[in-house]
């Protein structure tokens, strides 16, 4: 499973699972494995050459991963070996008690909810699950939730709020499911209601994008007091392919759209749209899932620890002020705006301000 080193898995099934820039890295790893095996079977000492390849491997990893393009980041976020929600549950959660169903229509497998002990806290865990094998993937609709998924998440979050249990949301979805049933059952209304209710649930909410943060389907469980994105995850208003189709009239410009839409963690941090980036091990979460999980756990522990010290009123005021301040615009009028004196006046051409500059 995901806790195995990736080289074994990738080596066994050829190169089909690999991203282009990973191929030389995996070749080196296989070379090391082969030499180690030969060393054992022949009794000869290859340690010098192995050490040398290991050194080259580290350099290659650094080179490939230090400067991923936005598009490469998207590819790593979608990597077939990347740890998924249920992998993180296995690695981090103690006593996970899954709770199914939205009590209205059905149980959406793309959305996983349950009580658990996580990062030293008793929490309600909510997250998208994409599925690993073909069958599981299709059961989970590749992480694309239906209205019943969003309503299930809300129902469990309300349960948590009732008993003062903080909420941890892990986001990993290409987007809400675009289908006939989803529209018939009010996918837009379901997401809208989640956004509204999440803004006023009186318990700490933290959210982290662990893979894909696709549009409204991601935001539907990610209105939170602290928001993070993992180092090789992305969070975007639209998928790069969808953005390219609309803006460049061709999905072939996906790589370009990925850059223009500023969906990578450093851009999101710079735009003050997220609070933190959760580091991944060198070469991405899929190369050392446990290390990635530990980093995620550490972030959750820190974020929840801080928030739990706040009284509900202070927590909700803080959440509203964060949301209220989201945005970047300016006014050309010299007059105080006629309404809501909160927006600051800015002159044309000045550096735009964003959410963190909101008046507290």
């Amino acid at each position: 499973m995901s806790t195995q080193p990736v080289a074994g898995g990738a080596g066994a099934s050829g190169y089909s699972h690999l991203l282009e820039f990973e191929k030389p890295i995996v070749k080196m790893e296989q070379e090391i494995q082969r030499l180690e095996a030969t060393q054992v079977s022949s009794g000869r000492d290859y340690s010098e050459i192995i050490t040398s390849i290991r050194g080259q491997l580290q350099i290659a990893l650094h080179k490939a991963y230090a400067n991923l393009t936005p598009w490469e980041t998207v590819l790593v976020a979608r990597h077939p070996k990347r740890p998924l929600l249920r992998d993180y549950i296995r690695m981090l959660c103690v006593d996970f008690c899954e709770l199914h169903g939205d009590k209205l229509f059905g149980d959406d497998r793309a959305m996983v909810c349950g009580f658990t002990r996580l990062a030293g806290h008793k929490v309600m865990l909510i997250g998208h699950h994409k599925g690993r094998e073909v069958r599981e993937k299709s059961e989970c609709n590749f992480g694309c939730a239906h209205p019943e998924g969003y309503r299930k998440a809300l129902q469990k979050m309300k349960l948590a709020a009732k008993f003062n249990v903080p909420i941890v949301c892990l986001v990993d979805t290409p987007g809400a499911y675009p289908g006939v049933g989803a529209e018939e059952r009010g996918i837009a209304a379901a997401i809208a209601v989640n956004l509204m209710q999440l803004s006023r649930l009186p318990v700490p909410i933290v959210a982290c994008v662990i893979g894909e943060g696709g549009s409204g389907g991601a935001l539907g469980i990610a209105v939170a007091d602290q928001v993070a994105v993992m180092q090789n995850a992305y969070y975007s208003v639209i998928s790069p392919e969808g953005g390219a189709a609309i803006l460049w009239k061709s999905s072939e410009h996906a790589a370009r759209a990925a850059g223009a839409l500023k969906m990578t963690p450093p851009d999101l941090l710079r735009l003050k749209l997220i609070d933190a980036i959760v580091d991944e091990p060198l070469g991405g979460a899929h190369r050392d899932p446990l290390a990635a999980a530990r980093n995620l756990e550490q972030w959750i522990a820190g974020a929840l620890g801080d928030l739990r010290r706040l009284k509900p009123e202070a927590l909700l005021r803080r959440r509203w002020e964060r949301l209220r301040g989201l945005g970047s615009f300016f006014s050309t009028s010299a007059e105080q705006p006629a309404c809501a004196g909160k927006s600051r006046k800015r002159r044309r051409g000045k550096e735009p301000t964003t959410l963190a500059d909101a008046p507290a």
Partner: protein, 273 residues
């Protein structure tokens, strides 16, 4: 409303004195169409109209007072697709005579004071960026402060791509603002017009205490073409229309444009304290 010097398009109908209805192909005299509030007298097709035209139709003459008229996008992503976002904004501003895709303010409907927001399909398809989010939030705050109903006429293709994630988070901001209005006991009426989709549908549009829709309006989350690509078949007739949404329980009433003013007044009276 239009000056002859700036031939702005305020209504999405073909040019000319006689117009062939884009829906039923009947020839209509422009004067008649305008008298009918830009609804085809033959087939009832509701044409898209600009925010100013709508404000004129809904409010008592001369009563509308606009808030925050000078807010403009700061292009937070320094975005460029085929042209730069800055250039696109300049072009759209010139063509529409508006600075953004929504107009908010205070008006009167048959003597009843309301806070009103009206989205503009002629401004990058009514898309929501930071300015739209700010104005919706400000309108909700003003409705709370003045204890007035908030009437929101939605008309939008969704979040504005050119502002990326800054646009997406406006969904959360506007929904949270509506939550506060709700907690304050304020009345929030949404009028969904063609189109009300994606990020706007999935935030402040679908949070009304009462949800009205104009006949035939496209209302939904995912674009019809995206869904067709997923399911690999043609969509059924009438999918994602106002009537479809009524049928599935997401819209309270479908209201003809000529009745909108009186229906709004009626609902405000029923919910009055």
């Amino acid at each position: 409303m239009e000056s002859p010097a700036s031939p702005r398009r305020n209504v999405e109908v073909p040019e000319g004195l006689w117009i062939r209805c884009t829906k039923c192909a009947q020839m209509i005299y422009r004067g008649i169409l305008e008298e009918e509030l830009n609804v085809c007298p033959e087939c009832g097709h509701h044409y898209r109209i600009s925010a100013r035209t709508r404000i004129g139709q809904l409010n008592d003459p001369g009563t509308f007072e606009e808030f925050l008229p000078d807010l403009e996008s700061s292009d937070p992503l320094e975005f460029t697709d085929r042209i730069s976002y800055k250039q696109r904004l300049e072009e759209v501003k010139a063509a529409s005579g508006e600075k953004e895709a929504i107009v908010v303010g205070k008006g009167f409907i048959k003597g009843r004071p309301v806070i009103m927001g009206v989205m503009n399909p002629m401004f990058i398809m009514g898309s929501m960026g930071a300015v739209v989010g700010e104005k919706v939030a400000a309108a909700a705050e003003r409705a709370i402060a003045d204890s007035l109903p908030l009437v929101m006429v939605t008309c939008s293709g969704g979040a504005r791509m050119m502002e990326g994630m800054v646009s997406l988070v406006q969904m959360a901001k506007t929904a949270a603002a509506i939550a506060r209005l709700d907690e304050a006991g304020g009345l929030y009426i949404v009028v969904m017009t063609d189109p009300t989709t994606a990020g706007v549908a999935a935030s402040f549009a679908f949070l009304g205490d009462v949800t009205l829709a104009e006949p035939g309006a496209l209302i939904g989350f995912a674009g019809p073409r995206v869904i067709e690509n997923t399911i690999k078949t043609r969509l059924p007739e009438g999918f994602q229309t106002a009537e479809f949404m009524l049928e599935h329980g997401y819209v309270d009433r479908i209201v003809h444009r000529k009745n909108l003013r009186s229906e709004l007044a009626k609902i405000i009276d029923y919910c009055g304290k």
